[in-house]
């Protein structure tokens, strides 16, 4: 007999999961209908059944280091079929949120970003304050750093490009340091938890595992297997690719502005509407707005059949993405319609929208490691770990394969 698991129920953690949207987890009576219903769950101890009883007993260490929590795309087929209404799909979603929070670095950020009370401050006040200060001090800072815009452009009058890049690059670097710290700890956590139970023997190298996970991210193949969730998969893909396109354009524009002159390439900034990057940006923007807009509509119009449930964790991220896209387009429309000659109130309206856009981008980007945005990175990592240790659908665990072989 393996060494006994010392059960120390953590009621506090149970309450936290309940608060994060897993309100029905105590109802589970372990019939395993969820694991049977799930298209993605296989093997001898399939999710979400085991996660449900772990959650009931508050086995925090197990749950926060469990890659299988991240193999779920929350189609809620399990929740629909659960005879007890325990909503395993929502419990796993809550656990994902708790994992992101748990591995947040610095940890207070994790708590603040996802706290409903701190949200207005975090999301609006702080970005507005920081950006406002930057705008007010732009001339002084520019002079002190000896930075100026190579091209005078419409919005650069208000928020110079160099400032934009210094401001956001600094924050992005900090953000990614935080994110990477969290991810490294998550990977170690998964590994340690497995080792403690004598499990997690690698079946595949880390690199090929990551490649497989990224491939899946690009195709959403596993997501596609998930119940009758075609609509969700498609809007998710749109949001993903829309955002990716805009991210690529932003990087390109930065290079165009500051790297190309150094390399002796002609800078084409500001791009006109026919420039391939501008085309990509507009197409990406449309895809993002349509994708997130549809996702929002789908969630708002979701029938009250219990299949679709959204928490503030979901809503904040979704609205941010959508509004970043919408305000982005508004600022673009102003740029092409308001000529610098016709100054006046219209110009200030344009600046106003631009400022709002920047505030939202701040919210999206800076809080990335702590908001639902982080799910992308945690999921890739967990999926890679699952591939690495043979837990995913395609390469079931060694144990499972053996059992299947025995069965015949």
């Amino acid at each position: 007999m393996a060494e006994a698991l010392r059960l120390k129920p953590d009621r506090e953690f149970v309450d936290e999961v309940i608060d994060a949207g897993g309100g029905d987890l105590k109802k589970c009576f372990q019939c395993a209908t969820c694991s049977v219903a799930c298209e993605l769950s296989h093997g001898p101890s399939p999710f979400p059944r085991k996660e449900m009883i772990w959650a009931q007993w508050g086995l925090k260490d197990r749950l926060l280091n469990d890659p299988e929590v991240w193999l779920c795309h929350q189609c809620n087929d399990c929740s629909m079929r659960c005879p007890r209404g325990a909503r395993p799909g929502d419990v796993l979603a809550a656990l994902r949120q708790k994992t992101i929070e748990h591995y947040s670095f610095p940890s207070f950020m994790g708590r603040l970003v996802n706290s409903a009370r701190a949200m207005p401050v975090m999301l609006i006040l702080i970005p507005a304050l920081l950006l406002g200060l930057a705008v007010l001090g732009r001339d002084a800072i520019g002079e002190a750093l000896g930075l100026s815009d190579p091209h005078a452009a419409f919005y650069a009058e208000f928020f110079p490009h160099w400032l934009l890049i210094v401001f956001f690059t600094t924050l992005t670097v900090l953000t990614f340091l935080g994110l990477i710290t969290g991810l490294v700890r998550f990977w170690k956590g998964m590994k340690n938890a497995d080792e403690a139970r004598g499990k997690g023997t690698p079946v595949q190298g880390v690199v090929p595992s990551v490649v497989t996970a990224v491939k899946d991210l690009l195709t959403h193949a596993r997501f596609g297997k998930c119940g009758d969730q075609k609509a969700r998969k498609n809007t998710h893909l749109m949001a993903f690719y829309g955002f990716l396109a805009l991210f690529v354009v932003t990087v390109w524009a930065t290079f165009d502005l500051y790297l190309f002159p150094v390399l002796g390439i002609e800078s084409l900034y500001p791009f006109d509407l026919t420039h391939p990057m501008k085309v990509l940006a507009n197409v990406g923007g449309i895809i993002l707005v349509v994708g997130t807009g549809m996702a929002i509509l789908n969630r708002l119009n979701a029938p009250e059949d219990g299949k679709h449930q959204s928490t503030s964790f979901d809503w904040i991220f979704l609205w941010l993405l959508f509004l970043v896209g919408v305000t982005g387009f508004v600022t673009e429309v102003f740029r092409f319609t308001v000529s610098p000659e016709t100054m006046g109130t219209l110009e200030y309206t344009a600046y106003g929208f631009y400022f709002v856009h920047l505030v939202l981008v701040f919210g999206l980007l800076v809080y990335l490691p702590y908001s639902k945005f982080a799910h992308m990175w945690y999921r890739i990592l967990a999926m890679a770990y699952a591939e690495h240790t043979g837990r995913t659908n395609g390469t079931e665990s060694v144990e499972a394969v053996q059992i299947q072989k025995k069965a015949g």
Binding site: M1, A2, E3, A4, L5, R6, L7, K8, P9, R11, V14, D15, I18, K26, K27, C28, F29, Q30, S45, K50, I53, W54, Q56, W57, R84
Partner: protein, 749 residues
């Protein structure tokens, strides 16, 4: 009264078209010289009845009705003061055989012969006229007894309620709260026992004797004489008509649960001890008096365990749910861990279980307990086969063992055995018998003073028990019956159950007790031969005191005088005829069922001579399952061999061996006996009938050997009613087998 027999043949339901009706009529008129023999197209119609009624007015007092099965149209063919003999021409002849065939005609004619003979030999039962008291005695004043008393009183009957303890109420007065019995079934519910007790106390029809037990009960239903002992006794016997025994349950002895830590630590307690703590308003650790912060509840402690109680008591799961909720309510810091084999919360109680599950301080897992040991100041519970998929170890400040219910019954038959053995030992005569008796005394000495009802019954002073010491009788079909007519076990004595079910059970038992008095007063019997007014008549002058009847009666109907002569208590009788089947002297008979009547029916059949090469088989079919099963097969038009002749019997146990030997010497080639299933998951309506027949059949095999006949010529089959499709197969296979063996060599002698 002189027999005036008339025969009526129905042509309806395919009978007329399939049979040679003239030849059939000739059997009655020519062979038996019956003057009145009529046919009708639909005998059960008003016109058909009118036809019969006219003849009755002209003096007919016995009618032989050749129509459908005796199980149908009973009211249509029942006439006052007229004996009806039914001949089943429909289900068992025309519907199950080739029409217009000589074998089918021969079969119909034989059945008519049997029916006429029965009509000639049998007579209408004369109901017993006994004085019947209409008081119900209720033994036990817990929730069941109190409810039975109240219900009987409300139905208009006087009740004597006897309780061993000084106060009424039993367990229900010792607990703080109960399991919820009302919507929404979510929270422990206050108990209302005091109110019920007040109702009993204020009811004029109920006489309560607390601190009282039963000293002796003699007599029979309608005429039980009860002597009490203790507070309520005045030495005089009380007369009652029927009895409800509601002596309840006791907790399983936790001292046998050392493997679950009982005895190793004071902090391992039982659910009953927990109830006491909850009732006192303080839950503390027995070892140090501190409130426990973590309590582990171990379910099925000594239940569903072959080494302890093999059964499920059905309530412990809900009791634990209740206790954990109450503990959590008293001190919200407390955590309750429930380790179960299976959580059983049937029906609406699921809501109650859900309520506990939703409580964040109550944790559930399945698990087989592997140990409860002392840790440092805490207890360590280890379990395997858990829902967590691995063995677990839990620390707890207190462990509560959910022990099950043991019925407070007394095994009357074993007590009788013990008393008999003690007598042998006291006599002290040397021999093997003495050794065996000593062993018996040693083995059963725990039964010393175990008597509860102290019945004056030859077979023992208390209700016989079946599985696990519960004194029920036919669990599947007649759950409220016992094997002592007029005495009804109820509540947790009959089946482990919660108080709400106990109340229902008590109402059922009260109704049965009342019913027993009412039908007894009419001279009828109770289940399963409802309305039967016949009763055994024993020709005592020919009795050899062999005691078979007194021993074999499943209902303890017969007592014995010191010589061993049976003393009949007719209202105890269920009219199964097992005594009649047992009697080697054939001196027990009923007015419409006797060795002679059936024997004559057997002899009435025409046995084809050896040159015809047609075997003749006799089938004795139990009326309870096998006969209706054959009817059903007929209804489905499933064919069976036309060489067999069936006679319905009240129970296989009522088959007297003489019928078999007579049939064999008459030239029958084979005999098929079909009864209900015996055994632990039994189905025999008289509990022991088919089992007894199986025992007696050993004697039959002996007889066959003596006659140099093949053993295969007599076969016993036990058949549940739902397997009716198998019945024709059984008959046909038997017919084929007899064909292979060949004809009975005694034919024609």
């Amino acid at each position: 009264m002189d027999k005036n027999v008339a025969v009526y043949l129905c042509r309806g339901c395919d009978i007329g078209a399939a049979l040679d009706m003239d030849a059939l009529k000739d059997v009655a008129t020519d062979e038996y010289n019956i003057e009145t023999c009529r046919e009708h197209d639909c005998l059960c119609s008003d016109e058909g009845r009118e036809l019969i009624r006219k003849d009755i007015q002209d003096g007919v007092n016995t009618i032989v009705v050749g129509a459908c099965s005796q199980r149908f149209m009973i009211d249509r063919f029942t006439f006052e003061d007229v004996f009806t003999s039914r001949v089943n021409l429909r289900e068992q002849v025309v519907w199950s055989h080739e029409p217009n065939d000589e074998d089918t005609d021969a079969m119909a004619q034989d059945y008519l012969r049997m029916g006429i003979v029965k009509g000639q030999k049998a007579s209408l039962p004369v109901p017993l006229e006994e004085e019947v008291d209409r008081t119900v005695l209720v033994v036990g004043g817990g929730i069941t007894g109190v409810t039975a008393a109240l219900d009987s009183a409300r139905a208009g009957y006087d009740v004597i309620l006897v309780e061993r303890e000084e106060e009424l109420g039993g367990w229900m007065t010792k607990w703080a709260k109960g399991i919820p019995h009302e919507p929404p079934y979510r929270d422990p519910q206050p108990l209302d026992m005091d109110e019920r007790i007040a109702q009993v106390r204020s009811n004029d029809r109920i006489t309560v004797h607390t601190g009282t037990t039963v000293d002796e009960i003699t007599g029979q239903p309608g005429q039980f004489d009860v002597t009490l002992k203790g507070n309520g006794s005045n030495g005089e016997p009380l007369r009652v008509g029927s009895i409800v025994q509601a002596t309840g349950w006791k907790p399983y002895d936790p001292n046998r649960l050392g493997h679950l830590g009982y005895g190793t630590s004071a902090d391992v307690i039982t659910n009953v001890q927990m109830e006491e703590m909850l009732a006192s308003g303080q839950v503390t650790r027995p070892s140090d008096g501190k409130p426990p912060r973590r309590i582990a509840f171990i379910q099925c402690a000594g239940s569903r365990d072959q080494d302890h109680l093999p059964y499920c008591s059905g309530v412990c799961c809900r009791v634990t749910v209740k206790q954990s909720l109450m503990v959590r309510e008293m001190s919200p810091d407390t955590e309750a861990y429930v380790l179960y084999k299976d959580m059983r919360s049937p029906a609406q109680y699921e809501e109650f279980y859900k309520r506990a599950q939703e409580d964040p301080g109550i944790f559930f897992t399945k698990g087989e307990i592997t140990g409860v040991t002392n840790g440092d100041a805490t207890l360590k519970v280890t379990a395997d086969d858990t829902l967590l998929g691995e063995p677990i170890e839990l620390e707890a400040d207190m462990v509560v063992l959910a022990t099950g219910m043991v019925p407070r019954s007394a095994d009357g038959e074993k007590i009788r055995k013990y008393v008999d053995a003690k007598k042998v030992v006291e006599k002290g005569e040397e021999g093997a018998q003495l050794e065996a008796a000593k062993e018996t005394v040693e083995e059963l000495k725990h039964l010393e003073d175990a008597e509860i009802l102290n019945l004056g019954y030859r077979q023992g002073p208390d209700l016989p028990v079946l599985k696990y010491d519960f004194p029920d009788s036919h669990f599947i079909c007649f759950p409220y019956e016992s094997r002592r007519t007029g005495i009804y076990p109820s509540g947790c004595l009959r089946l482990p159950q919660d108080s709400s079910n106990c109340r229902e059970d008590a109402s059922g038992a009260a109704m049965k007790a009342i019913q027993a008095m009412v039908v007894t007063a009419r001279g009828e019997t109770v289940h399963p031969r409802w309305g039967d007014m016949s009763y055994p008549d024993i020709a005592l002058q020919r009795c050899t005191q062999c005691k078979r009847c007194t021993e074999e009666c499943p209902f303890g109907t017969l007592n014995e005088d010191p010589k061993g002569t049976p003393l009949l208590n007719p209202t105890r009788c269920r009219r199964c005829g097992i005594c009649m089947g047992a009697c080697p002297e054939r001196i027990i008979s009923f007015k419409d069922y006797s060795p002679e009547i059936v024997g004559s029916m057997i002899k009435a059949v025409e046995i084809p001579d050896e040159f015809e090469e047609k075997p003749r088989l006799l089938g004795l079919l139990c009326e309870n399952d096998a006969y209706p099963a054959l009817d059903t097969a007929g209804l489905k038009r499933i064919q069976h061999s036309a060489h067999i002749r069936f006679i319905p019997v009240r129970c296989l146990g009522s088959v007297n061996i003489v019928w078999i030997s007579d049939a064999l010497s008459r030239g029958y080639d084979g005999i098929l006996l079909i009864g209900c299933k015996s055994g632990d998951d039994y189905q025999c309506h008289f509990i022991r009938g088919s089992e007894l027949m199986e025992t007696r059949s050993h004697n039959v095999q002996e007889k066959l050997k003596q006659l140099a006949l093949e053993e295969e010529r007599v076969r016993i089959e036990l058949l549940p009613i739902n397997e009716y499709e198998r019945l024709p197969e059984i008959v046909n296979e038997f017919a084929e087998e007899i064909d292979e063996i060949g004809l009975n060599p005694f034919k024609g002698f």
